[in-house]
Amino acid sequence: MTGALPGVAPMAVPPGAFLVVGTLLFAIGLAGALLKRNALLIFLSIELMMNAVNLLFLTYARMRGDLAGQMIVFFVIAVAAAEAAVGLAIFVALFRAHRTVDVDKIALLKW
C-alpha cells in the first residue's frame, strides 16, 4: 500500500492486486486475440486488452493520487470507440468481399 498522498484517502485494497488483475485480463485478452478465429472476436479480445490497460492506468493514477491517469483512460475509451467503428466497418467490407470473417480462411496474400 502506498503512503497516503495529499488529497487521497488510503487504499483499502493493495494496488498490486488491481495491477495483477489488470495484467491477467491483458493476458486473457491476448490469448483471445491469438486463439480466436473470428475477426470480430479477435478484435473484441483486443478491446479487452485495452480495458485491462485502462484498469492499470486507473490503478496507477490512484497509487500516485494523480488525475492524469484517469484523463488518459478517458481518451483511450474514445479512441477505442473510433477504432471499433473503423474496424467493424472493415469487417463488413471484408465479409462482402470474402463471405467470411474467419481469419483462417482469408489468406490470399501470403509468402
Binding site: L19, F26, G29, A33, A39, I42, F43, I46, M49, M50, V53, L56, F57, T59, Y60, M63, R64, D66, A68, G69, M71, I72, F75, V76, V79, A82, E83, V86, G87, A89, I90, F91, A93, L94, R96, A97, H98, V103, I106, A107, L108, L109, K110
Partner: protein
Amino acid sequence: MTGFLHVTGADLACVAPELVLAAFATLILLLDAFARRLRTFFPYVTLLALALANLAGRDTTGTFFGGAVESSGLSRFIELIALGAVALAVLGGAATLERDRRGQGEFYALLLFSATGLILMARGVDLLIVFLGLELMSLSLYVLAAWYRDVPAATEAALKYFLTGALASAFLLYGIATVYGRLGTTSLTRLQGLASGSARDPFDVLLKAGLLAIVAAFSFKIALVPFHGWAPDVYQGMTTPAVTFLSTAPKAGALIVLIRVLHALFPSGLPDPWRPLFGVLAVLSILFGNVVALSQRDLKRMLAYSGIAQMGYAAIAVATFTPEAFEGLFVFLAGYLVTNAAAFLTVAALSAGEKEPRSLGDLAGLGRRHPLAASVLTLSMLSLAGLPPTVGFIGKFLVFRAAVDSGLVWLALIGVLGSLVSVGYYLRVVYVLWMKEPVREVTLVPEDLLSGAAFLLTAALMLAWGVFPRALLELARGAAVTLTGR
C-alpha cells in the same frame, strides 16, 4: 488546482501545419459531399494544402499547448517528410485513381488526416499525444488500405493491418501505462533525465517490460522483424498510391518517436540491454528482409521485404544512438522517402491495375514502352541498393559509418552484407525492365502531368541529394540538434 490553458497565438502557430492539413482535409470531405463536380480538382487542392502547410511550418523551438507538442528542427523534419510523402502519393496516385474511378475526395482527405496524425505523433512530447497521433494516422491508413473495398485482396490487407495494428496499440498502451505508473508522468520532457548516465539500464523489470512494449509497438509501425508480419501482405493488397505514403512517412515518424522516447529516458546514450536489443532487431530485419525479398516475384511484396531490410539499417542508427547516427538516420529517412515513393509510384504506373497482381515478369520490356517511369524505377532500385551517387548511398553510408565509429562494427558488417545481398533483387528489377522481352501485354496507366511531375521530382531528388546532399544534411543536422543539443 490547475487553471485553464489560455491558447496563445504561439500555440496555434506551432500547430499551424496540422491545422492547415486538417482544415483542408475537412474541406475536401465537404466538397466531395456537396460539390461532387469538383472532384477532378481534389489532387490540386491537396497539393495546395500541402504547400500551405509547408509555408505554415516554422522554425521556432519550444513546447506548446501546455507541454503537449514541441516545435524544433526535428518536428520540422518530420513535417517535411509527411508533406512530401503525401505530395508524392497524390501526384503519382491521381492518374491511377482517376482511371479506376476511385478518386473520391475521401482518399485525399484521409491522406491529409493521416499526415496530420503523423506529424502530431512525431512532434508530441506527451505520450498521450503520441498515441492519439498514431491512432489518427493509423485509422486513416486502415481505411485507405481497403480503398478498393470490392477487391478481396484490399479488404484482406485492411483486415490484417487493422488487427495487428490494434494489437500493437494495445501493447503501446500497456507500455504507456507502465511508464506512467512507474515514473509518474507521460510527458517526455518531464521524463527527461530520470535515468542518469549509467552503463546499465537503471529501471526495474516492470518498467523495462513496459518500455519494451512501446518499442515493440513502434517497431511494428516500422516493420522490424519480428513485428513485421503485416507488412508484405498489406503492401501487396493495399492501394498502391496509399502504399506510397504508408511505406515511407509513418516509418520515419515511428522511428522519430522511438528515438524521442529513448532519448528522454536515456539522454546520454543507450544503456546495456537496449543497445544490443536494437542491434538484434536490426540484424534480424536486415537478414530476413533481404533474404526473403530475393525469392519474391510480386513487386509490391518484394518492396515490402526490402522495406523491412531498409528499416533494419535504420535500426542500426537507433542502436548506435549518437548524434552522427541520428544525422545519418535522418538523411537515410529522407532518402528512403523519395526512393521508396518513387518505387511505388512507378509500380502503380507500370502495372495493369489494382485488381491484378504486380508480378515482376510484367515489367519485362517496359523500359521501352514507358521509359520515364522505367528510368525512375531503375534509379530508385539503385538508390535502394545504396549505390552511389544516389541518396540511398549517402544515408546508408552515414549510418554505417556512425555505427563503426561507436564500435558497432558487427552491425555495420551485417548491414553491408545485407545491402550486398539486396543488390541482387534490386538489379533484377532493372534487368527485367530493360533487358527482357515482354511476356504479355500490360495495359498501363496513361502518363499524366501529375505523375510525370512526381517521377521527375523523385528522380531529381534521388540524384540531387546523392550528389549535392548539403541541404539535406543541414536539415538532418537541424533535426538531430533537437535531440542532442549540439
